[in-house]
């Protein structure tokens, strides 16, 4: 029953939220809803995998043999946990931002949470597709209504991109459906397809799915929607987009593509890996040149996601385990970064690195917390990202799936160095150096913002020192997926 609650609570509270008119009312309502969801998620995560409370299955469309089938497995737990923790953080961190039509804004946020939860829990391909789109529509409206000046154009591009991708995926899903023995959308039927679908079919089917996932992640060269959309969206939405929604692509890859079309995945592994490393270097170089904080973080995100995608195609225990933990950590870290950006923008009304400077004098606690978050983003030891990235590099290096493993590892490592360049450069220019006319009258952040950033920093450090619980959560999923991906 727990997975159903995780979808229903945000859905129902979201629909109710449309009718709340007052600013504070809708904020409290959505915060309340997201905290309830979070508590239930904790309960779900605490149960052992396979517990009957973590499953729900009922007939949905009998004529198509599609089921409303949801389950919280290891990977599902990690990502629902990320979703459940992120939303309260986002709501509290942006508490002071004011929106016109607050009721609709927060209602749409909750609806997108329902969609995300559904994506991570669905065990039926058609249901997965449903939630995949359900997560997109509210975000489209959020960005277009409350975004920056060029929002309509930017978010429309984003919408069209992802919509084309999902339609390709829909064709892939229908095609696979007709090839399952029992004409079913269930994930187990899909997993038994690998012996039925020939390798030629797998090799083009792979792209039908992968384009959808690559656009969502995004992987070079499908990334062009991303910096514009991140820049134009209201920051709360950017946090959802970059912290959680990009994980949908990785998640889809790991659950719905790699184990289902193992031969296709092997066949195209090198090509995709090449795209990943090109994207990593390219995005890092572009990030160095950015003057806008939001765009810089957006490009840095492309680089990080590229590494995760690379590690999935390495098909090693260490790499896959690293992806699992990093999906969670990257979400936390990037939301932390966005909060800092939001705080700076709200106070100084600019995001231009060149116009800021010396913020550390005015906002010492902000500076301190930012430095930790930024270091986590560069994957310094003792921070959470270090574990994940180390394991992924280890996985890519020891990969038997490609003969270019050393090359890929080396190029990917360069992008980590580059990430240190732009992160430290940003810290130095924005937080240190001399204050100017704009930043001289700054003040330090408020208590609730301190608490939220502190929570993130604590998460970063705890996960960096003691990541074992997450390994144990996902071990089962990783083993079973690698078993299905193995080329035997």
């Amino acid at each position: 029953m727990i997975p159903v609650l995780l979808i229903l609570i945000p859905l129902v509270t979201g629909l109710i939220g449309f009718f709340i008119k007052s600013d504070n009312g809708s904020k409290s309502w959505s915060l309340f809803s997201s905290i309830v969801t979070m508590v239930i998620t904790f309960a779900g995560v605490a149960l052992t995998n396979g517990n009957p409370h973590l499953k729900f299955d009922t007939e949905w469309l009998p004529s198509l043999n599609s089921h409303f089938s949801v389950e919280m497995d290891g990977m599902g737990k990690i990502l629902t946990l990320l979703t459940a923790i992120s939303f309260p953080i986002i709501f509290i961190a942006t508490w002071r931002s004011s929106y016109k039509n607050p009721g609709s804004f927060f209602a749409l946020m909750l609806l997108s949470q329902a969609g995300l939860m559904g994506v991570f829990l669905a065990m039926d391909a058609l249901l997965f597709y449903f939630f995949w789109e359900l997560a997109l529509i509210p975000v489209y409206f959020l960005c277009s209504q409350w975004g920056g000046e060029k929002r309509i154009h930017a978010t429309f591009k984003f919408f069209i991109y992802t919509f084309i991708g999902s339609l390709f995926m829909l064709i892939g899903i229908i095609y696979l459906y007709y090839h399952t023995k029992d004409h079913s959308f269930s994930i187990t039927s899909f997993y038994s397809l690998r012996s039925i679908i020939s390798s030629q079919e797998q090799s083009w089917l792979f792209w039908l799915f992968f384009i959808a996932f690559a656009i969502k992640m995004p992987i070079f060269p499908f990334h062009t929607w991303q910096p514009d959309t991140y820049e134009q969206s209201p920051t709360a939405v950017t946090m959802v987009l970059s912290g959680i929604m990009v994980k949908m692509g990785l998640f889809g890859l790991i659950r719905w593509l790699a184990p289902v079309l193992a031969v296709g995945t092997w066949a195209w592994g090198d090509t995709v890996s090449l795209l990943c490393v090109i994207g990593m270097i390219y995005a890092s170089l572009v990030a160095i040149r950015q003057n806008d904080l939001k765009r810089m973080v957006a490009y840095s995100s492309i680089a990080h996601i590229g590494l995760m995608c690379l590690a999935v195609f390495a098909t090693t225990q260490s790499g896959m385990q690293g992806v699992m933990i990093q999906m969670f950590n990257h979400g936390i870290n990037i939301i932390g970064l966005w909060i800092v950006v939001e705080l700076i923008e709200r106070q100084y009304h600019t995001r231009k690195i060149s116009e800021l400077g010396g913020l550390a004098l005015q906002s010492p606690s902000l500076a301190l917390l930012l430095v930790i978050i930024a270091l986590a983003n560069v994957a310094l030891p003792l921070t959470n990202a270090f574990i994940g990235e180390f394991m992924m590099f280890n996985g890519v290096y020891s990969s038997g799936a490609t003969q270019y493993n050393v090359v890929f590892t080396a190029i990917a490592a360069i992008s980590i160095i580059l990430s240190a360049v732009y992160m430290l450069n940003m810290i130095q220019k924005v937080f240190y150096g001399n204050t100017n006319a704009l930043t001289a009258n700054g003040y330090d952040i408020k208590a609730n913002e301190k608490i939220i950033l502190a929570v993130i920093v604590v998460l970063i450090l705890v996960m960096g020192v003691y990541p074992q619980p997450i390994f144990e959560l996902t071990k089962g999923t990783v083993d079973s997926i690698l078993g299905k991906m193995s080329y035997k």
Binding site: S63, E133, F168, I171
Partner: protein
């Protein structure tokens, strides 16, 4: 049979209603009453009770598929009447006649959903078309309306001529010399050239009726020129009916020689999708955009004709229902707008949140976004083609076109929600809004549980 008789009789009743009743309200009420009777009569027939027992010499054949479609068409017309009947009164002075003509069109609809010979098909198409020529030109003071009507009449007559020619060819080429569609099926995969010529002529004239490219040229002008209330009716119920006739004809008569004509339909489908979607992108008027969108939607419905399997049979019913109610809803809102351009919708969400919200749901449904009826409609069409294992290129092409369609449907949403402006709108009543909300809820429910429509309709039918 019930439907044919009731529509014809009630059509006559409506003609005289203008003389008998002085008030427009009474006339409107009579029309809605007639439609309810019609719907009930049709459902009774699906349950097995025929009110009239007439020997039709096997020229009409009432099976579940056609009757199901009748129910959908009459149900959509009911929504159409409830939403837009008041706007019909604004077109001109002869209110009773407009309703009468619509009932005659519905008579044609019930004939072409049950024809068993080519003669009945021809009669049905004509009974359906002639009232439409009049309705198109019903705004006598408007030159555009007159022009549209004349254009429609000329082009329509031309296509009728082709249809008759095709029927004659088929009659001559068939071994038994017959008009019956079952007997036309030759049961083997090779057809004589004469037979193919007849088939293609028939295909062209039907493609004209469903406005498939390259026989679509009349559509934008006629839809644009006709009074908007009647465009709504033409673009939905009438077009869907023509599709049902098209599909029944090809399913019963020409299924054996599919390889001979399938490639033509595939090309027509591709052309329709391409032209409909690309041209819709460049429109400035929402009404004209909807005309092209109806061409684009026809492209998707042609998939049912291309495949002719059980998935597509269920799918086309869902598609016609989903497409009709969403389009009727959009038109009902469009009629209330003072400015038909995209800019005319600017800022509608601020002043009319309900109208903007339901309009968004209808547009999302037309675009085929999940959670709306339009998604499953498109799903069934794509699945029907993928099931055959052929024409994968066409499926890929269709989804690229579907992505294009998002562009012009979302332009309206963008105008309503994200652009500043003061959309000018005629007065709307609370019942009008309530009805739109009900339709929007139906669209969403069909988008979550599409089998509700298909199963319920199948269950009340005992012929099986």
């Amino acid at each position: 049979m019930n439907a044919i008789i009731i529509t014809a009789v009630w059509g006559a009743v409506m003609m005289f209603s203008g003389i008998i009743f002085k008030k427009n309200d009474t006339i409107r009420f009579t029309a809605i009453l007639g439609l309810l009777l019609l719907l009930i009569g049709n459902i009774m027939e699906m349950r097995g009770s025929r009110l009239f027992d007439i020997d039709v010499h096997n020229m009409l054949y009432f099976e579940s598929f056609g009757l199901l479609f009748n129910s959908i068409a009459f149900g959509s017309t009911l929504f159409y009447f409830l939403l837009s009947a008041k706007d019909i009164e604004k077109v001109g002075t002869n209110v009773g006649e407009y309703f009468a003509l619509i009932f005659f069109v519905l008579c044609g609809v019930s004939i072409i959903s049950s024809f068993n010979t080519l003669l009945m098909l021809f009669l049905g198409i004509e009974i359906l078309s002639i009232p439409l020529y009049i309705l198109t030109g019903s705004d006598k003071r408007d030159l555009k309306s007159n022009e549209a009507s004349l254009k429609y009449l000329l082009m329509g007559s031309f296509s009728t001529g082709l249809m008759l020619l095709g029927i004659a060819f088929l009659y001559g080429a068939s071994e038994k010399g017959t008009f019956f569609i079952d007997d036309l099926a030759i049961g083997k995969a090779v057809a004589s050239p004469l037979f193919i010529v007849g088939l293609i002529l028939l295909m062209v004239s039907m493609a004209f009726k469903v406005s498939a490219a390259p026989f679509h040229f009349w559509t934008p002008d006629v839809y644009d020129g006709a009074p908007t209330v009647f465009t709504s009716f033409m673009a939905t119920i009438v077009k869907a009916a023509a599709f049902i006739a098209f599909i029944r004809l090809f399913h019963d008569s020409f299924n054996d020689i599919k390889p001979d004509w399938q490639i033509f339909i595939a090309i027509i489908t591709a052309a329709t999708l391409l032209i409909g979607n690309l041209t819709a992108v460049f429109q400035q008027s929402v009404k004209r955009m909807l005309a092209y969108s109806s061409i684009a939607q026809a492209g998707f419905m042609l998939f049912a004709l291309l495949t002719l399997n059980s998935t597509s049979q269920e799918g086309i019913l869902l598609y016609t229902a989903a497409y009709s109610i969403a389009t009727i809803g959009i038109f009902a809102i469009l009629i209330k707008m003072k400015d038909y351009t995209f800019d005319g919708f600017n800022g509608l969400a601020k002043h009319q949140p309900v109208l903007a919200a339901v309009n968004t749901i209808f547009l999302l449904s037309l675009a085929g976004i999940p959670l709306t009826a339009g998604f499953f409609a498109k799903y069934y069409m794509l699945a029907a083609v993928l099931q055959t294992g052929k024409f994968l290129w066409l499926v890929i092409f269709a989804i690229l076109c579907a992505a294009v369609s998002v562009y012009y449907y979302f332009r309206v949403i963008q105008a309503m929600y994200f652009k500043e402006g003061a959309a000018q709108i005629h007065e709307t009543s609370p019942t009008f809004k309530a009805l739109l909300i009900i339709i929007a809820i139906i669209v969403i429910l069909l988008g979550i549980f599409p089998q509700w429509l298909i199963d319920t309709l199948y269950n009340i039918n005992i012929y099986g």
